[in-house]
Subunit: 142 residues, 2 copies
DNA sequence: CCTCCATTTGCAATTGCATTGCATCCCCCC
DNA sequence: GGGGGGATGCAATGCAATTGCAAATGGAGG
């Protein structure tokens, strides 16, 4: 992907979600557009040595609020964030997308498939959101 | 449930899983048998003021290793543990059981239903385990 | 162009959960 | 009765998450 195209996509996404396109935000979003693995704050910090940890932290929160990223808690100890296949909306992530955590390389990947919530919940439960974590071995490690 | 019955069940479970039935372990297991909500270390500590935090922590780990409890990471910041409807086996939790996190009361409940992993994963992915988190409003809060 | 205000950023410090080390205690086995 | 392994309790540490505050930035209005 050409840099120019990438930049366009970044700006488009940020404006679309009502997030002011600051350099830091563009940098963080670029990280996520480069590939579809979920990143933790620590990983992002390592990938962008010049950026301040706390600023990245708040950028991630902002992105999550605005529906650009969503948080994944894959049991690795640190919250991971990932850009979703299709854009989610603020306050409500509409897609039921599974995340695959590879036990070998430790990466968490967004899968491009959708999963269905259980056909029938016990009485009285009102379902608003769902998160599916898959664990196993990814193609590159298998 | 009568106390005697409860005690029997506790002893039975512990021996069945090759866990020596110490007073502390019986106490912790009793907490989980009393109801089916998932508990964090902090919640257990509060429920058993005389018990040492670290000991509870290690008891939970032991229970998890031996297949009595399993860990749930529901995004609340603290790992929760829950007794499962049917016993899991050490090293491998065989049942794909969803957990329901109520956004009102904050409790995480084990649901007595099973969920199916996605019918088809993209090529090369090897599935070993699955965790399904449901979020919404529970019957008591609805 | 300058000023004011809101947002964003950077640094410091704190909180809270998870984890480990070590000494002690208890129980089973010899 | 003594030895050894598991269990417990206390202290201390590591790491992620979070907040407070001050400085920098950018846009709106005069």
């Amino acid at each position: 992907m050409l840099a120019k195209t990438m930049n366009h996509q970044i700006l488009h996404t940020l404006e679309n979600k009502n997030v002011r396109p600051t350099p830091m935000r563009m940098l963080v979003l670029e990280q996520f557009l480069q590939n579809r693995t979920a990143r933790s704050l620590g990983e992002l910090e390592a990938a962008m040595p010049r950026a301040d940890r706390i600023t990245i932290y708040r950028t991630l929160r902002t992105f999550e609020e605005k529906g650009i990223l969503h948080a994944i808690t894959d049991g690795s100890g640190a919250t991971h964030y990932a850009l979703c296949p299709d854009a989610c909306e603020p306050e409500h992530h509409r897609e039921f997308h599974p995340h695959f955590h590879c036990i070998r390389c430790g990466r968490t990947l967004c899968l491009d498939i959708t999963t269905q919530p259980p056909a029938s919940l016990p009485g009285g439960f009102q379902l608003l959101d769902m998160e599916v974590q898959l664990k196993g071995v990814c193609p590159e490690c298998g």
